[in-house]
Point group: C2
Chain length 472, copies 2
C-alpha cells in the first residue's frame, strides 16, 4: 500500500506543530510542508526583541531548521514555496517555487491549512514608501533591524538619534516602541483610538501610557494617520502626518493589526466564519473533507462566549496545530477552545487579560455585566520592591459567574496571576469560589490576600471591610 | 437591650481578622481581644526578613496598632493579657495581665479562639541555653536581631563573622538561613531528615540544597541534633553537636516546626481533631456552643483529601479568621477549605507546592498515584534571563484527576504558576483539561507552552513528542 501524504500549507507555529504531531502519530505518513517565507518554526513573538537587540541572533528565534525537520523527523520542508491553489476534488495543490517562479502540482490525502495572518497596512498615502515596516515575518524584523543599524552607522549619523514613529498602540506596537527605545531611537506612537491598548480597560491604558511617557515615548491617541510623507512619490518616509501634527520619522512601523490570510481557503471553497477567519469544528476540520486548519488564520471556540472567535495568538496556534496534526494523521483529538488570555510587557510593567471586557460582556443579553476594580500590592506590604497591581474583574451579576479579568502591575507580577483567573474561567468558577482560592503566599512574591482574592471580595460587596488584609 | 460581647483569644492574623470582620457585620457588638504577646496584627511571615534587615523597622511588620483598633474600629485590644481558662457553662474567661499578674474574669456571649501555634524545641540537652532562639513571635525576631547586632558590634567582634546554626531545614529554617547570610553570618543548617524541605520532592530538595551551598550555607541532612553545648549548665550556646560533628555557634535558631496551641481549648472541653489541632465544622464552630476557632491552632478541610488536616499558614489563618468573625457576629459564612498551597523563596530560587505529594497520594487507597517530572524554561527559549523550572505533577491514574504539584525555578517564576494548578485542584479539573489551559504568554515571562501544560502533556504520555514546544 502506498503511503498517505499530508501536505501542510504554512510552516510557522501551527504548521510545524501539525507536521511534528502527525509524524509522531503516524510514522509511515509522508509529510510535506510548504512555507512561503524563508523560515519555518520560529518564534514570531520574539521579533520585537530581535529588533531591539535583546535577542542577538536571528537563529536564536528559530526553533528548528528545515534540515532538522528533514533529517530528524522525516518532514519534507520547503521554504520559499507558495501554495497558490488547492483543488479539493482532485486532492491536489498548486505550488510555486519563489526562487525561479516554477510551478507544479502535488497531491495530498489530507491537508492542514496554516497560512496564518498578515499585517494590515491602512490605506493612507505613502504607506508603501521605503522605510515603512510591518512586524510579522522574520524577514520584517531583519529589515527593520538593518534599517536602524544603517541609521546609527557613522556615515548616516545625523548627529541626533534616529526617529521612529509607530502607528498603532496594540501589543506589537508597544513592544516595538520599547525595543526601538532600547536601540536609542526617539519614538512616537500614534493611535487612532482614544487610548493605547484598545480592548483593555481605559484606566489600565492610562497607566500604560504613563509608563510609555516615563520611558521617553511620545504618545498621541485619538489621532488617525493622514499620510506618510517623503521625498516625491516613492521616496523614503520622512514623516507621519495626522490632522494635528507632523512627526518626523526616519522609520515608520505600521502595527495596526492583522487579518486572517484566507484567500487560498476562500478560492478552494473552504467556509469562513462570521469573523472572516477559517471556520473549523472542534476537531479542526474545515467545511471541506480532508482539510484541517489551525493557527492565526483560523477561528477558535471561546469557552466563555460559547461561540467561535478570531483571536490570533501563538499559544492558540501551537495548540491548534498539534490537534490538527493529530487528526490529520488519523487521530481523534478535540480542541476545547480558549478563554481569551493574553499578556505583554511594556517597559517595567506587565499587562494581562483573560475572558471578556465589560463592553464584551454587556453585548451579551444573557448576562448582566458587573465590573469591579481594586488596587493591591504585588508583595507583602513590608517587603521591598512592592508595587501596585490594578485588577479589574468582570462578571455576571445574576449568576455570580466570572467572565473576565484584566491586570497591570510591576514586571513579573501579573501574567501568571491572570492565569489563575483563566483557569477559574475555564472551570466556570463562581465568584464566591474565586474569593476563597488557596493561593500561594510568602512575603517576597505576594501579599497574604492576593489581588485576585481581594478583587473577588470587592465584587462580593464586602471588600472595603474590616479585615486585616496584610497580616500573615 | 444590653449589647452582646465577643471575646477573641489571640490577636495576630486569625484573631484580628475575626474581630475586624465581626465589627463590620455587627456595628453594635462589643468586641474584646486578649493577646498574650506585646503585639497584634503583624505579619509573622515577615519576621525572617526583619531579622535579616530587609525589613528595617519592626513597625513595618505591624499592620495596625491596638490604638488603631480601639479608635477606628471600636475593638478593645489588650496586649500582654493571657486568657488562662474558658468556662463554657458560665460563658466566662479568666484573664491575667502579664505586667502585674492580676487576674479577673470576663463574660462572653460568643468567643473566637485564635491561639495559634507555638514553636517546638526538641528535647535535647542545652536547648534552653541563652543564644538559642525560635522564630515565632515578633519578640523572637527582635531578640534574634539584637543578638546578631551584638555579635557584630565592635566590642564583641571576634575578628570573624558571627556563626549561626539553624536546626531544621523547613521553610522557616531556610528563610532564616538566607537572612542570616544577608547579615554576614556564617550559617550551617542541620536537618534530621535526609533532605532539606521535608514534604517536597527529594529532587526538588536537592536543587534547593545546591542553591543553599552556592550561597555559602553549610547543609547537613540526616543528622539529628544531639545537644547544644555551652559554658557550664546554663551558659550561652557555643556549639551544636550531632553524632557526626560539632558546629561552633554564636547563635542557634531552632526551627523544627510548630504545634497547635491547644491547652486552653482542651481544658475547656473543646474537641480536638485527629491531627491534634482544634476540630471545627465548615462554619468554624468548635464542639462547644458559642465558641468558634480559627488560625494556626485549628484544622482546615482539605478539598483534595476530603478530610480535616492541620497545615498552619498565614493565608488560611486570615481566611478562617474572617469567617469565624462573620459567624460569631451572627453571619452565615462557610469555609470551603484549602488545597495545601505553600511557597517560599530561597535565595534566587522560588519553591512552591499545592495538593498532595506522591507519598501522600499513595497513602489513599482510592487513588492509584502517578507522578511525572518535567523541566522547562521560565521564559521564551531566546529571551535573556531564562532559567529552568522543574515541575512535578501527581495524579490519579484511574480517573485522570490532578492531585498535586510542586515546582522549583528562578525567583518570581513558580509561586503563581503553582496557583494555576491550585485552582485546577479546587475545580477538580482532569489532566486533559490542564494540558489545554489557555495560559498567558509573551517572551519576557513565559514560553509558548507553559511548564504546567508540558507537565500535563507528559502525564498524557505523549510529551516527549514531536511537537514544537517553543515556536510562537
Amino acid at each position: 500500500m502506498a503511503s498517505r501524504r499530508l501536505v501542510v500549507v504554512g510552516g510557522v507555529a501551527a504548521g510545524m506543530s501539525a507536521a511534528s504531531r502527525a509524524r509522531r502519530v503516524d510514522p509511515q505518513l509522508e509529510i510535506v510542508v510548504f512555507e512561503r517565507s524563508g523560515y519555518v518554526s520560529y518564534g514570531s513573538c520574539g521579533i520585537p526583541y530581535f529588533v531591539g537587540g535583546l535577542v542577538e541572533r536571528l537563529e536564536d528565534l528559530v526553533v528548528y531548521t528545515p534540515q532538522f525537520f528533514r533529517e530528524k523527523r522525516r518532514i519534507d520542508v520547503h521554504v520559499s514555496h507558495e501554495v497558490t491553489a488547492i483543488d479539493p476534488r482532485s486532492h491536489r495543490v498548486q505550488v510555486r517555487r519563489l526562487s525561479d517562479g516554477e510551478t507544479w502540482e502535488a497531491g495530498y490525502d489530507v491537508l492542514v491549512l496554516a497560512t496564518g495572518a498578515y499585517a494590515v497596512r491602512p490605506p493612507v498615502p505613502g504607506v508603501e514608501r521605503p522605510g515603512v515596516f510591518v512586524m510579522r515575518l522574520l524577514e520584517d524584523g531583519m529589515a527593520m533591524r538593518r534599517r536602524v543599524e544603517e541609521l546609527k552607522a557613522p556615515a548616516a549619523d545625523a548627529g541626533r538619534p534616529p526617529r521612529a514613529v509607530v502607528v498603532g498602540a496594540g501589543p506589537i506596537g508597544l513592544e516595538a516602541a520599547e525595543n526601538l527605545r532600547r536601540l536609542g531611537c526617539e519614538v512616537a506612537i500614534v493611535e487612532v483610538m482614544p487610548q493605547v491598548l484598545p480592548g483593555y480597560h481605559p484606566e489600565l491604558a492610562r497607566i500604560v501610557e504613563q509608563e510609555l511617557r516615563r520611558n521617553g515615548v511620545e504618545v498621541y491617541t485619538g489621532e488617525p494617520v493622514a499620510g506618510i510623507e517623503g521625498q516625491g512619490e516613492a521616496g523614503p518616509a520622512t514623516a507621519v502626518s495626522t490632522p494635528s501634527r507632523t512627526l518626523p520619522a526616519d522609520l515608520v512601523l505600521v502595527a495596526t493589526g492583522v487579518r486572517p490570510q484566507v484567500a487560498l481557503a476562500r478560492a478552494a471553497g473552504i467556509a469562513l466564519g462570521a469573523t472572516g477567519a477559517v471556520a473549523v469544528d472542534d476537531h479542526l476540520r474545515t467545511s471541506v473533507p480532508d482539510i484541517f486548519a489551525a493557527g492565526d488564520g483560523v477561528e477558535a471556540w471561546h469557552r466563555v462566549l460559547e461561540r467561535p472567535v478570531w483571536i490570533p495568538l501563538g499559544t492558540t496556534s501551537n495548540k491548534q496545530g498539534r490537534i490538527a496534526g493529530e487528526n490529520a494523521a488519523g487521530g481523534d483529538a478535540r480542541f476545547r477552545g480558549i478563554v481569551g488570555t493574553a499578556a505583554l510587557r511594556v517597559f517595567d510593567l506587565e499587562v494581562a487579560r483573560t475572558g471578556l471586557t465589560r463592553e464584551e460582556a454587556e453585548r451579551e443579553p444573557r448576562w448582566e455585566a458587573v465590573e469591579v476594580h481594586v488596587r493591591h500590592g504585588s508583595r507583602a506590604h513590608y517587603y521591598p520592591g512592592r508595587g501596585p497591581i490594578d485588577a479589574w474583574l468582570v462578571g455576571d451579576r445574576k449568576s455570580g459567574r466570572l467572565l473576565g479579568a484584566q491586570m497591570v502591575g510591576p514586571a513579573g507580577s501579573v501574567a501568571k496571576r491572570i492565569d489563575v483567573l483563566a483557569v477559574a474561567l475555564s472551570a466556570g468558577l463562581p465568584v464566591e469560589e474565586v474569593a476563597e482560592l488557596d493561593l500561594s503566599y510568602a512575603p517576597p512574591f505576594a501579599p497574604v490576600w492576593d489581588v485576585a482574592l481581594i478583587a473577588a471580595r470587592e465584587w462580593l460587596k464586602d471588600a472595603a471591610l474590616g479585615s486585616v488584609p496584610h497580616a500573615g
